[in-house]
Each structure stands twice: as C-alpha cells, then as structure tokens.
Amino acid sequence: MSLVDRRSVQNFDWVFLLLVAVLVIMGLVNLMSAAAAGVEGGTSNVVRRHVMVMGAAALVMGVCAFVDYRHVERFAPIIFVFSLFLLGLTLVVGVVTRGAQAWLFEGGSFQPSEFAKVALVIMLARYFHRNPPSTIQRLRQLVPPFLIVALPIGLILLQRDLGVALLTLLVALTYLPLLHIPMRAWSAIAGLAAAGLAALWTFGLRSYQQQRILDFLDPARDPLSSGYQAIQSRIAVGSGGFLGAGWQEGTQTQLRFLPTQHTDFVFSVLAEEWGFVGSTLVLAFFIALLLWGLWIAQSSKDGFGAMLAVGLVGTLFWPATINIAMVLGLAPVIGVPLPLFSYGGSALMSAAIALGLLLNVSMRRYVF
C-alpha cells in the first residue's frame, strides 16, 4: 500500500490551494514594499531570505499534504513531547531578544513556540478523537486536555513570552465551542479566567508588559513607547484612505515611520498602500481560507481529521486576529506575526505545516 492514495490525488483541494497561493503572493508583494524602505536599489536581504524560506516551506507543505495524516495521529505523543523538548531547550540555550527568551540559535532563525502551537493542536486532536467533544459535559472531563495545554504554555511563560503564551491558549480554546458544556460551567470558567488575569497582572507581568497594556488603553500617555507604535500604525492605516497610496508609495512606510513594519506591523503597510479596498480584499481572502478550513473539518468523515482541521484553522485564525487587531489599535501591542504576511521563517514554516495538513485532511475526506 502506497503512502499516497490515488483517490486522494483525484480529490485534491484545488480551491484551498488557490486561496493559499493568492494570500502568499499578496504577502510577498506587500513584504517587498515594507522591506524596501531605506534600502538602496535591488532587493533587500529580507525579501531574498523570505523567498528562500518560502521555497523550503512549499516543500514542507507538500510533504505534510501527501503523507497520510493518520500517521500524524500515531506519532502525536512523540511530536508533542518533542515540541516540549524544544521549548525546554530554548530555556536553557535560548537567545534573548527584546526581553523574551523565545529564539533558539543565534540570529533568531528558529522559534520553537511556533511549532509548539501545531504540535499542541495535533495532540488535542488525538485526545478529542478518542474522547469526542460532544460527550464532554462536565468540567472534570477537561482535566486531561487542560494538562496537555498547560505544559507548553507553562514552558512559554517561563520564557517570559506572554504574547505567545496567550496566543497558544487562544489556539487551544478554539475547541471550546465544540464542547457540550452547560451555562453554569461557562460562568465558572469565566470566573476562573478573570481571577487568572488578575493574578497574572500582579505577579506574572513584567513592568514593560504592564506598560504596553496601559499604553493600549491610553496611547497618548507615553508616546515614546509602545503607545507610539500604536499611534504611528493608526496614522499609517488612516492615511491609506479608500484606494491607498499605491505600492511602495506610502509615505509612512517608505520613511520608515512605522515600527517593525516588515514583521509585526506588516498589515499597516498593506493598509497604507492598498487602502480600504486592498485591506478588505485581503481580509476577504483570509476569512475565505479559514471558512474553507472549517468546511474541511465539517466534511471529514474521520474524527481525528475533523478535530485536527479545527485546531489548525485556530493556529491560523488567532495570530491573524491578534495581529490585525493590534495594527488597527483594537488590541495591545503583542509581538505576534501575521501568517503568510510577516517576515519570519518559523512562522512561515508552521503556517506551511498547518496548511499542508489541512490539504491532507481535505483530500482524504472521501477515502473513508
């Protein structure tokens, strides 16, 4: 029996691939403008490196799409433990950047927390496959998945990377609407969450992190710090207008008035240069991709495939949402990249894995 079934090739999900391709191209075009600012002639290193990573990511995506995903279920515990090992390794040898210890290897070339998200989803999908969410009606049934989630988040918190920890938690919470939990339990969860947040603010947050949140609530209080980023981002987005300034024509972008514009604030470049029309178009493609992903979950005949697809959609949806909300001034400044748009090898790679697995689940939906 070959690894790749002929039927699954026939059922290849071309629509999904097309959506991915459109978003990747939009992302690259936008990144070329964002990274070009201040670079004299030629392509900047950022773009060159990004294209190289894209090549590798395409390969990874292909492998993830064609090797039967049920192998993934078998190896889920190993993958999960390995991701925890990498996170732990970061703690020991990680390179400290911008106050957080999230990078393995010099030069920030590898960020284990990006992969931990996907590994977590794989592990949770396996659990919910064996214990279908519809049968979960009591909170104590949630203890095992809670532990699965707590392990990587705990390790990420130890690295003092609060933004990524929050992101990982949100990814895990994607499964929440699937559970059949009564209203009373929901209020208990909400109460716990509020208490947890209060404790976090007092004990868990470093002063710069508290500052960021205060800056978000009142950007003008200290325009020098992250509030400054928020103001600049809002100005850039606003100056885009209806049609935008045009590619590589945005003054805010090209004068490099935007902070980290090729990574975390890449969406504000898009908004300035392509305006309301362009940004809405990108949002439309994004939501189309995410909904298509949910449809893949819905139409999968296999419990693991369905659960996996839901989680993978979560790994794409949450960073995108947090990032765009931050750029639009709707959320505090958290260093989360926008999938397929931000510069960054690990993020692109983990997105490629997620998209590849989604394709995988999609084309095997008729197999069973």
Binding site: M1, A36, A37, G38, D68, R70, R74, H129, R130, P132, S134, P177, L178, P223, L224, Y228, R234, I235, V237, G238, S239, G240, G241, F242, Q248, E249, T251, Q252, Q254, L255, R256, F257, A271, G275, F276, T280, L283, F286, I287, L290, L291, L294, A297, Q298, S300, K301, D302, G303, F304, A306, V310, V313, F317, T321, I324, A325, L328, G329, L330, F368
Partner: protein, 645 residues
C-alpha cells in the same frame, strides 16, 4: 499496520457524526472578528481619512526624524571639549519639486552653486526614493542661511532644518582621547550592540566617542507634520521629542592638556619634529590629568562626514596622526627602567645603595663588551650617582646579578607588560621579556647578554607612555596601583542623574616600600642635583623626582660613523622622561616620549615634562618646601664630586 489503523478510524468516525460538530459557532466567531476589522478599517480609512483629506486636497503628511544632540564631553572643571552645535541643512524632496528648472536656478543662485550640479545631485529618482530627501548643504554658512530663509516661499519641495552637528571646540585638543565620529558602517548595522541604528546614523568611531557611544548618543525623536503645496509646515500632527545624549565629565585638566600640547609644539627647535606622547596621572587615584599624542588630527573634519581623499591622506600619513601613541605607542623604556631595576636590587638584598661600583666606560661579559653611554666612564659610583648620571655599567652589573626573570617580576609589579585597563580601546600591552617569554614567543633560549641590555630598558623591552606614567605613579605613591582612568563621572544632558563608574579598589603591590623610598631619593637627586641628567625638569619650590631615558632604536654600530644630524630620522634615539612631584607626597606623575629626537631624554623630554609640572603647581601651589635645599645638600654630600650651583 495502516490497514488496521484504518478500520479503527472508521469505527470512531462513526461515533462522531459530522452534524454534531459545532464548527458553525467557530465560523460565526471568525466572521464577527473580521467584520469588526472591516468596520474599523472603514472608520480609520474612510471616515477619519476623509476628514484629513478634506482639510486640503494637496496637503500631505510628512514625517521628520528629530535627531538627538550628542552629549557634551567636558574637562574636570566643566570646560567643554566636545559639544553639539546646530548646523543648517538644505534638502530637496524630489517628489515635491514642482518646476525643477526654476527651483534649481533659484537654489543655485542662493547657495552660490552651479544649478546643473545641484540638479544632477538630486537626479530624478523613481519609486520610493522620490520621498527621500537629498541633502544639498549640511552646514550652510550664516549669511547664506538668511538668504535661503527669505526665499523659502518660492521653493516648494525644499526643506531646511537645523541638525545637531558635532563640534570639537579646540580642534585637535585631546583629539585621540575624545576620538571621532562617523557614519555607521554596514558591518556595525547588523550587530546586536547597535539595535536601533539605521544607515546614515552617526556613531562614535574611536576614543571616548566610541567607548561611551551608548551614553553620548541620546534618543532620536520624530514628528509628523502636515505640509501645504509649497512644502510649508501647516500643523504638527504629533511628535516625539528627542532626548539629548548624556554628558561625560573627564578627569582631564584642560590647562594641563594645553600646556602639554604646547610643550610638544614649541619644544626644542633643534629636534626636527615632535612626535610622541605625554601622559600625566594623579598617583593618589589614577586620574589622568593630561594625555597627548602627537601629531594629532582635527576630529571636526570627521563631524560632517570626511571625504575620502582627506581620509586616505590621514590614514597613509607616515607620521600616523590617527594613532593614540599614549596608549598604543610601544617604546623601549631606556634608562627610566633603571628605577625599577634598582628597586629590585634593594628588595632582593643584592644591592647596597651606598657601596660604589667602578665604571670604566664599558662592561665585559664573556666575549662581548657593553658600553656605557659616557665615554671614559663614570668612575666610582654609588646608587644615587649611578641614577643621576644614568650610569649603564652599574646597572649592567646589577641586572646580571638579578637575572632577567627577577627583573621581569618587578617590572610586572609596576604594571608593565599588560594593558593598564584604561576606558578606551586599542591599548597595547608592551613587553617585559623573560626566559619563559622568549622560549614561548621565539622558541629560543635566553642569552645572558640579553639580560645586560634588558637591565637598562633596551633589548626586547617595550612600554607604552601610559604604562611608564603608571610605573612612576607607583614609585611615587609607595607601591599602590590605581587603575588609570579619565572618566570622572557620567551624567544626563541637564546635569541630573550623576553616575560614577565603578572603580577597582586600589591594589597594593608586593613591592617593598622601603626600597621604593630609597630609590625615590636617587630620583630626587636626578632632578635636583646640579649634575643630574634630569636637571631641566626642576620646578620652583617643588621637589621633583624623575628619570631620563634615551632609547636606542638601532644598534650603535650601524650609525657610529655618522655625525648626529646625519643619522636618518627613523634611526635616531627616542627621548624619554618620567617623573613625579612633590617627591615626598606626589600629586602628579608624568611620562614623556619624544620619538626619534636624536637627543637624550634630559635635553628634550625633561623640559617638556617641566612645563606640565610647572603649570600644575601654578594652579595647585604647594608649601615651598624648606627641606628642598636640605635634601639637595644631603645629596650633594653623598656624591663624589660636590659642586656648588
């Protein structure tokens, strides 16, 4: 394996009917989030964007970077050495030039430059580079400034502003110490220690400018302004004020620094050029009071970006004006080393200072003969006489008795052979030769004859001027190392937030203070006795202790047939002098090296040290020392040929 897995999967998927999966709820959450985004984009881009646009169709927002002025560097009394002054800059934003021909002809007339040249300087950039201002003038003279300002209305697309520019008030003064600045290099831009820099930024390249870059730099700000068609500022949208760089207060005394530099420039007229270095240290705490390296360069030339021909001229200049000889120049210490050998001799119990040695003018060891500098010799000399007359034979004999390793041990106690640890980079370590060193570095055995030259500071010995000053500071304070430094304290630009750098605790050496005390007496004789080789370093009312040195650059026989002034410059001897004063409780130690002076340290270097010492005691008078005459007399008594002054 896979077949089995398949059947299990089929089973479980049957349990989980797809219809039970509530993905619809997730889809709704996602749709809500993205709808909020679209609404927000509409608010920011259409509602608020239109509001901005309606103020003026042709108004545009321009973003300016507000440079932070670099911090001042001042001397110990607060006198400014390096500061920042405003420079008037004229720039053109290509995308906003309406009629190029007219604009460049007006600009050419105003700036007194060729309009074609200006036009080609700006060119016709495409794409994003149209927004990047091109500088036409970075430091326009005051009168032209007024002209440009009065015609601003006629020049859309031309922006003028004041930018901070580094200014070294006295030009070459303390140039090597203060250092220079320049545009940040491509290699530095990628480095972790230059996180917030971008191409075109100014960064310290040498001296304090480089070593204290982080403190001096300050923090840039920014401003978004609305400009009209003519490029005139209409309103400020928002701005972030720059924070000026911090101030550095040096231990340098500008008066002494001036005296020292003038000593070099107005030295012995018979010496062809005064290259070399001078370092003055406070032996009580290691504070550097003056540091000169000659020839110097004017760091102002770098402040506005040095052009490549001027740069290559500086780099290829054979006199090496960019090099800080005070810390990176390595010279044989010559006879100044005898002070250290004498301390070694007394401490080891080998040397009786009062016992005389006969100097016939040469010294034989095996088949070799080593000459004393004085033809005919010094006759019978004790320690005081040997030091003040700088008798070589006396120290040849002592050195051979001590052995090179013992001498090396003492030299290292005096801080030689390793960097002093001063705050700036590129300090050299000098060299204290020993058997082990030669074995390791050259793979050869130490020859006994080499001990002979080592004992008078020749041969392999190398010291930097700052090491020499430190060694004499240790002789002066009785054997304590205070790490030399020239930063007194750092403070914010407005004088607040004063910060004293951490200092090493004074480190006692293993030196015998009684031995040092005895040698100090000989050093006093060297200066205070009429026949002393260092007599020209005498200062009124102050007892000075010092030692001259003349370090050979090449072997004598190479040049022995030539008259003094026929010797090629690069073969001429270095003149050296090191001293401290007042002898019994020193407040200042000085070391001077004059490269290729062709004359002895007593003739060339001692008078230069004298000028610095005299200036110091003019500013910081000491009680006229009544023992002065007494000391001189006692000394005279011990000497073989007493002579009235």
């Amino acid at each position: 394996m896979i077949g089995r897995g398949l059947s299990e999967d089929r089973l479980s998927s049957a349990e989980e009917a797809p219809s039970e999966l509530r993905v619809g709820l997730i889809a709704i959450i996602m749709l809500i989030a993205f709808t909020i985004f679209v609404v927000r984009l509409f608010q920011l881009q259409i509602v608020e964007g239109a509001d901005l646009a309606s103020r003026s169709e042709r108004n545009s927002i321009r973003s300016l970077r507000l440079e932070a002025p670099r911090g001042d560097i001042v001397d110990r009394e607060g006198r400014v050495i390096a500061t920042t002054r405003p420079a008037y800059r004229v720039r053109v934003i290509p995308s906003e030039i309406r009629s190029p021909e007219r604009a460049y002809s007006v600009l050419g007339w105003l700036l007194d430059r060729d309009q074609v040249e200006l036009a080609s300087l700006v060119g016709e950039p495409r794409g994003r580079r149209r927004f990047q201002p091109v500088a036409l003038e970075t430091d326009l003279a005051y009168l032209k400034r007024a002209q440009v300002e009065s015609h601003r209305y006629a020049l859309p697309g031309v922006v003028t502003d004041m930018t901070p520019r580094r200014h070294y008030v006295e030009g070459k003064r303390a140039a090597h110490l203060v250092g220079s600045i320049g545009e940040i290099g491509a290699a530095e831009l990628g480095r972790e220690d230059f996180p917030s820099y971008r191409a075109g930024d100014v960064v310290g390249k040498s001296g304090i400018e480089a070593s204290h870059e982080a403190h001096l730099r300050g923090k840039v700000g920014g401003r978004n302004i609305v400009v009209d068609v003519a490029g005139q500022e209409i309103e400020i949208v928002n701005e972030v004020q720059p924070i000026p760089g911090g101030r550095i207060v040096l231990t340098i005394d500008l008066d002494l620094q001036r005296a020292a530099e003038e000593a070099f420039l107005s030295g012995d007229p018979e010496v062809p050029n005064h290259r070399g270095a001078l370092v003055a240290i406070d032996p009580r705490n290691g504070e550097i009071l003056a540091m000169v390296s000659q020839p110097a360069y004017d760091p102002n030339a770098f402040a506005g970006g040095i052009d490549s021909s001027a740069w290559s001229a500086l780099v290829s200049d054979e006199s090496k004006p960019l090099r800080n000889r005070a810390i990176a120049g390595q010279y044989p210490p010559g006879s100044t080393y005898k002070a250290i050998v004498a301390v070694a001799g007394i401490s080891e119990g080998i040397l009786d200072p009062e016992k005389t040695v006969f100097c016939p003018g040469d010294y034989r060891l095996g088949r070799h003969t080593y000459r004393c500098w004085k033809p005919g010799g010094h006759g019978d000399v004790n320690l005081d006489q040997a030091v003040l007359g700088s008798c070589d034979v006396y120290f040849y004999q002592l050195g051979v008795e001590l052995g090179v390793d013992t001498i090396a041990r003492y030299a290292k106690e005096f801080g030689l052979g390793r960097p002093t640890g001063i705050e700036v980079q590129s300090e050299m370590s000098g060299l204290v030769p020993s058997r082990e060193w030669k074995e390791r570095a050259r793979g050869e055995r130490w020859l006994k004859g080499e001990t002979v030259s080592a004992s008078i500071g020749q041969g392999f010995n190398l010291t930097t001027p700052i090491q020499l000053a430190q060694a004499f500071a240790i002789l002066g304070n009785g054997g304590t190392i205070h790490r030399p430094h020239f930063i007194k304290h750092l403070e914010a630009w407005d004088g607040t937030d004063r910060h004293y750098p951490e200092r090493d605790a004074p480190k006692p050496t293993a030196l015998d203070s009684a031995a040092i005390e005895r040698v100090r007496q000989s050093l006093v004789a060297t200066v205070q006795h009429p026949e002393g080789t260092g007599a020209r370093a005498r200062v009124k009312d102050v007892v000075v202790a010092g030692k001259t040195g003349t370090s050979q650059v090449v072997r004598l026989k190479l040049i022995k047939d030539l008259e003094d002034d026929e010797v090629p410059l690069r073969f001429r001897d270095h003149a050296i002098f090191a001293a401290f004063a007042p002898a019994d409780d020193p407040e200042i130690a000085v070391a001077v090296v004059v490269e290729h002076a062709g004359k002895g340290g007593g003739a060339v270097a001692a008078p230069m040290a004298q000028k610095v010492l005299a200036r110091y005691f003019e500013k910081n008078p000491v009680e006229p020392q009544s023992e002065l005459t007494a000391t001189a007399q006692t000394l005279s008594g011990t000497l073989a040929q007493p002579e009235a002054e």
